[in-house]
């Protein structure tokens, strides 16, 4: 299968180093403390944050820092075939854990001892790269909730098909069976908080693919920053400052 044609276009018309179109919106769930919708092309994810609040299960309470919890789920209608998916299957448990660990790494938990932060992410429409979209949505929602963070965590995936590194794989490219490298970084600090790949890739290729994913993360970070700035300006405007 030809994923990049000799003219240098991918199946959907992007070039190898291009991302899908990004779109984000803040404050979509009024009841939550912070919420956001994040879209990467046809992948659409909603995130809602509750907290910091009192720890519900006292046995989990930590005295010097906040507990971060995360729940990831996929809406039944998120893929083409409407299937009822079990709630806590292996995959969603794993992604929940990944998102929790990534977010925990950037939230300044020691400022909020004996409290709990709940992150809920749900995939509304899946078209590859849900993991990255979830992290980006969660970051935006955390920022919306005003939770102190070291930096914005952003994430992006990159793959390697037809001996070409490809940025931001969509579903068709993702199911080609090639490697899929998901990277999450703290862009200002230049630190990697997440790195996942479940395939074999020679070391030198891996480095170029990972570098590409990092570039993608930085682009996402710029976009998120713009959105936040825009949002702040609107808040300013509403308050009439």
């Amino acid at each position: 299968m030809e994923y990049v044609n000799p003219e240098g276009l991918r199946l959907d018309g992007r070039r190898p180093l291009e991302m899908r179109q990004l779109r984000a919106e803040i404050g979509v769930v009024a009841r939550a403390d912070g919420s956001a919708v994040f879209e990467m092309g046809n992948t659409k994810v909603i995130a809602a944050i509750y907290g910091p609040r009192e720890v519900q299960n006292k046995s989990q309470q930590i005295n010097d820092q906040a507990v971060v919890r995360c729940e990831y789920s996929m809406a039944n209608f998120s893929t083409g075939d409407r299937m009822r998916k079990p709630k806590h299957d292996r995959r969603s448990t794993e992604i929940s854990l990944v998102i929790r660990q990534t977010m925990e790494a950037c939230i300044l938990t020691h400022l909020m001892p004996r409290s709990q932060i709940d992150i809920f992410v749900q995939v509304l429409q899946a078209d590859g790269g849900t993991r990255s979209a979830c992290i980006n949505a969660a970051t935006l929602a955390l920022a919306d909730a005003g939770i102190p963070m070291r930096d914005l965590v952003t994430s992006c995936a990159a793959g390697y098909l037809n001996t070409t590194p490809l940025l931001d794989l969509n579903y068709v490219e993702d199911s080609a069976g090639g490697p899929d490298v998901t990277v999450g970084i703290l862009p200002k600090l230049d630190k990697v908080t997440l790195l996942q790949m479940d395939a074999k890739l020679p070391l030198d290729t891996f480095e170029t693919v990972m570098q590409l994913a990092i570039e993608g993360c930085k682009a996402v970070a710029n976009y998120i920053r713009e959105i936040l700035l825009e949002n702040t300006k609107q808040l300013e405007f509403r308050r009439g400052v």
């Binding site: 044609n5 000799p6 003219e7 276009l9 199946l11 959907d12 018309g13 992007r14 291009e18 899908r20 179109q21 092309g41 046809n42 083409g80 075939d81 078209d127 969509n170 068709v172 074999k200 020679p202």
Partner: protein
């Protein structure tokens, strides 16, 4: 820059599903014309001075690809919508079109109209995909027209009447292929055009010749739906049609559903299927199952038996049928093999064929269109009807023809001329035909490939020698033994007596992978070629000549890099330890088999080299014996050897290939090296090793052998390879050639050994039947076989020297590589055999004699080749007028003259007019009777 647009599409994947894909439209797709003022011209491919840009419709590409490949057609814009449609309809043509687009000498530009902001069209309600694509083509053409209107003419080539009409309505210049080619003024191009079928635009509306007289010859193929349901219900059977090489009116379809081969007799039952087509077959009622060998001959075509080289394995021999029985006159017996007829063709195996035009008189008014019949060299292919305007040129040429269609009204398929190879009978032409027919790549290596070669003159650098992975074996007495005149020496041997108990024995194989790195153009080319092809007069190399004959060749007295297998052996040839290492060697002698044999036989020679040879031979004999005891078969094939004139490359002499002890000695060590390496790589890469197996023949495959043997009173035990080997050894007949003949027959019953990926089969299937080895691979000839290159890489990776290339880590990819290798290997063998056949013909064709004396009833001729002289009797009295005075003879009707010292062609035959008094009879061959091939 990015514009997103989603479109909805329904696809069927078991169930109906709605799929949503993104479709980005761009503004950075350029027109590809270097003179364009607006676009970025860095990727432009069209020529500077183009006066007309052609835009092709899909049907033009699908039907006229041969025309497009002609260099006269240039400055073509290929739209991505066309590429996509072609890809869906015919992947072979798609690949050819892609090759054209990437060929730097051709001006084909791919315009991604589907992703261009201005040329993307959305499907309208009620519009079929086909109409939508046609509209997309028109929109793109329109865009080009407005984009480049004042500079060049944009011409849409389409053979679709509707599309052309709409285009003209929209103000687009459109034309059919035929009328466009006519404007080019090159009549020979017209031959390349495929005649349009009825639904397309007919240029002059050529009426079928005498439509009333045309009758239906073949039955209509069943529609696909009926075929699928028939297959499901089990009334139809699906399989690949194989036409009998010796009788084109007989074909077999191997069907899994009934577990046997279905025989199809006659063209009518074959119903327009070609060799290699995937067909569906319906069984005939049992009372129509004929043992008809005769019906074939009653057909209208000539069918004389050809003299051929014997086939070398069961793969190319026809399955022996009960025909033997049938012709022996056993009547009334119910034939056991099912007969059938073709009802539908699932996949065509049409490609282009080499052959010649059937001789025919020039039609009146030359320059006009002539209908000719094309006769393929491959007898399995029926004659093909072609149209040509250059019949006079083609009559004595070998040409390539492609098939287009075969309808029920026509006895023969129709096709079109593709190109001329050369004059019939010319050695180079015929050799090229051999190569083309066997799909052998023989073009010179491209500049990208040659750029991968190290600079010449090459010598082992100090870095190479100092490299810790390379063991320095230069001081050892290494020598090579090869056929005389061999230039690509890829193995050299070494043996030393370490102590009374140990021999140190080294097989050095040329280190080709040191120069051919994975992923380079050189490697890709070698992988594509798969193997070197040895024709009688030339060699088609897998690797470029500098590598083959110099850098990798382990020649005498030069330092070369090698990959060595080092054994410690006892004098009883038991391997104590095996080591593998890259090395540097310096061969001290490149011997030929004859020289090596002579040294061993000459008892006066006691120099170290000869002693080594003798020791080695002793070991080899033990190893060989052990192998035979294990049940390895000594098979034989009728290998013929030519002596070729060095100047003219014409064959001088012909003889059977002789095998000496020295050959067997080298072979033995190479086998041992292959087996050792196979064990090593399989241990490290159990899922992705490239091995070679030889499937155990089934009982029925050996059936004809047993039958033949029992006919001459021989009992063969075929229960195991060991039993077969033993009974073959016992099969000694009256003459010395008898045993060899039986062995040749045995070889023919078996299938060929094949390469495979170890992850695809279970270990018991790895078995190599012929060698009686549980594991085998090819390691010893990396210069001429690509399989060995792969094995070298595997071995190097297992030693931790290099990383294993990605291609080899993947089971699926390795399998496709090994499939290609098998295909190439087989083709190379077929090409080699075809070349031998060709040279045998050339050899025998040139048996010329000179008339030395004219006599009353004939003349005396001298045959220079054999130095014999003899009389040629002229036939019937009165037909010839002999003038002894003038030493001339002429035919009574004055048509033929012979004079003294003239060259004539004669036929030589040994006849026995009286018992045990053989004599050589010479007869004149009438020049006009001589058929060339």
């Amino acid at each position: 820059m990015l514009k997103s647009k989603t479109f909805v599409r329904k696809t069927r994947q078991g169930a109906i599903r709605k799929e949503v894909r993104e479709h980005y439209l761009r503004d950075d797709i350029y027109c590809g014309a270097p003179f364009c003022k607006v676009c970025d011209v860095s990727g432009a491919r069209l020529s500077d001075s183009a006066s007309t840009l052609l835009i092709l419709d899909t049907n033009v590409v699908l039907n006229q690809i041969d025309l497009l490949e002609n260099p006269a057609i240039d400055d073509v814009v290929v739209l991505s919508v066309v590429l996509q449609e072609v890809k869906n309809k015919n992947i072979g043509i798609y690949n050819r079109l892609r090759a054209l687009c990437s060929n730097s000498s051709r001006k084909f530009f791919v315009f991604s109209n589907e992703h261009h902001r201005d040329t993307y069209v959305k499907e309208m309600a009620g519009e079929t995909p086909n109409d939508r694509n046609d509209r997309a083509i028109r929109v793109a053409t329109h865009w080009y027209q407005s984009h480049l209107s004042n500079v060049v003419r944009i011409l849409l080539l389409t053979n679709d009447r509707e599309n052309k009409r709409k285009a003209l309505e929209e103000g687009i210049l459109a034309d059919t292929v035929e009328s466009y080619v006519k404007t080019l003024g090159q009549p020979e191009l017209l031959d390349l055009i495929v005649q349009p079928s009825s639904e397309d635009v007919n240029m002059e509306d050529v009426e079928d010749l005498r439509p009333s007289k045309r009758k239906v010859i073949y039955t209509e193929h069943k529609p696909m739906s009926e075929i699928t349901s028939g297959l499901l219900r089990g009334i139809y059977h699906q399989g690949k049609l194989r036409v009998n090489r010796y009788n084109p009116f007989e074909a077999y379809v191997g069907s899994e559903s009934i577990g046997d081969e279905i025989i199809i007799y006659g063209r009518a039952n074959m119903n327009r299927a070609f060799d290699g087509d995937v067909v569906t077959v319906e069984l005939l009622p049992q009372d129509q199952w004929q043992e008809e060998a005769s019906i074939a001959i009653t057909n209208e075509e000539d069918d004389e038996e050809d003299v051929h080289l014997p086939p070398s394995s069961s793969d190319d021999a026809p399955r022996a049928t009960n025909l033997v029985q049938g012709s022996a006159g056993v009547s009334g017996s119910v034939p056991s093999r099912p007969c059938g007829r073709v009802v539908g063709i699932i996949k065509r195996n049409w490609h282009s064929y080499c052959g010649s035009v059937e001789p025919m008189p020039m039609p009146a008014g030359s320059g006009g269109v002539a209908h000719a019949l094309f006769v393929s060299k491959d007898r399995r292919i029926p004659k093909i009807r072609i149209q040509t305007r250059q019949l006079g040129n083609l009559l004595d040429k070998r040409i390539v023809v492609a098939v287009d269609k075969w309808d029920i009204l026509s006895r023969y398929p129709s096709g079109h001329y593709v190109r001329t190879i050369g004059v019939i009978g010319d050695r180079d032409t015929e050799s090229e035909v051999v190569l083309l027919e066997n799909d052998v790549e023989f073009k010179p290596f491209s500049s990208q490939v040659l750029a991968c070669l190290p600079a010449l003159p090459w010598s082992a650098s100090t870095e190479d020698l100092a490299n810790p992975i390379r063991q320095d074996l230069r001081q050892l007495r290494v020598f090579s033994v090869d056929p005389p005149g061999c230039k690509d020496i890829d193995d050299a041997l070494h043996l030393v007596l370490v102590s009374i108990l140990f021999f140190n024995n080294i097989s050095n194989i040329a280190d080709v992978t040191n120069f051919v790195h994975s992923g380079t153009p050189l490697d890709d080319e070698a992988a594509k070629r798969g193997t070197s092809v040895y024709l009688v007069e030339r060699r088609i190399d897998m690797l470029p000549k500098p590598l083959t004959e110099d850098i990798c060749s382990l020649r005498a007295d030069v330092e070369r890099l090698a990959f060595s297998v080092i054994w410690e052996m006892t004098p009883r040839a038991e391997i104590i330890s095996t080591k593998y290492t890259k090395s540097a060697i310096k061969s001290c002698a490149a011997l030929s088999y004859v020289e090596a044999q002579a040294r061993m036989d000459d008892s006066r020679l006691v120099d170290p080299l000869t002693t080594d040879l003798r020791n080695m031979n002793a070991l080899a004999k033990i190893m060989r014996q052990r192998r035979i005891d294990r049940g390895a078969l000594t098979l034989a094939s009728a290998e013929v050897k030519f002596q070729i004139d060095t100047e003219t490359h014409d064959p001088l002499d012909i003889g059977m290939y002789q095998i000496r002890e020295a050959n067997q000695m080298v072979e033995e060590f190479m086998l041992a090296a292959n087996v050792s390496v196979a064990e090593k790589i399989l241990k490290h890469f159990p899922l992705c090793s490239l091995l070679r197996r030889h499937p155990t023949p089934t009982k029925e495959m050996l059936e004809p052998l047993i039958r033949t043997a029992s006919a001459v009173g021989l009992q063969l035990d075929v229960s195991s390879s060991k039993a077969l080997a033993d009974s073959l050894d016992r099969a000694v007949g009256g003459d010395p050639y008898f045993n060899k003949l039986i062995r040749i027959l045995a070889t023919r019953c078996m299938s060929q050994a094949v390469y495979f990926c170890s992850g695809e089969l279970t270990p018991p299937e790895f078995y190599h039947y012929g060698l009686a080895a549980p594991l085998y691979t090819h390691f010893t000839s990396p210069i001429r076989r690509y399989a060995d290159v792969i094995v070298h890489r595997l071995l190097a990776a297992s030693l931790g020297i290099y990383r294993l290339p990605d291609v080899l880590q993947d089971k699926a990819q390795l399998t496709s590589v090994s499939d290609n290798l098998n295909y190439r290997h087989r083709n190379a063998q077929m090409a080699g055999r075809a070349s031998v056949e060709l040279h045998t013909l050339i050899y025998f064709r040139n048996r010329q004699a000179r008339i030395v004396k004219i006599r009353a009833n004939g003349f005396i001729v001298f045959v220079p080749k054999y130095g014999i002289e003899g009389p040629v009797h002229l036939s019937k009295e009165g037909e010839w007028l002999v003038d002894e005075q003038q030493q001339r003879v002429r035919k009574s009707d004055n048509s033929v003259h012979y004079g003294v010292l003239q060259t004539v062609k004669i036929h030589m035959e040994v006849v026995e007019p009286q018992p045990h008094r053989p004599k050589l009879q010479l007869t004149l061959i009438n020049d006009t009777d001589i058929t060339i091939m």
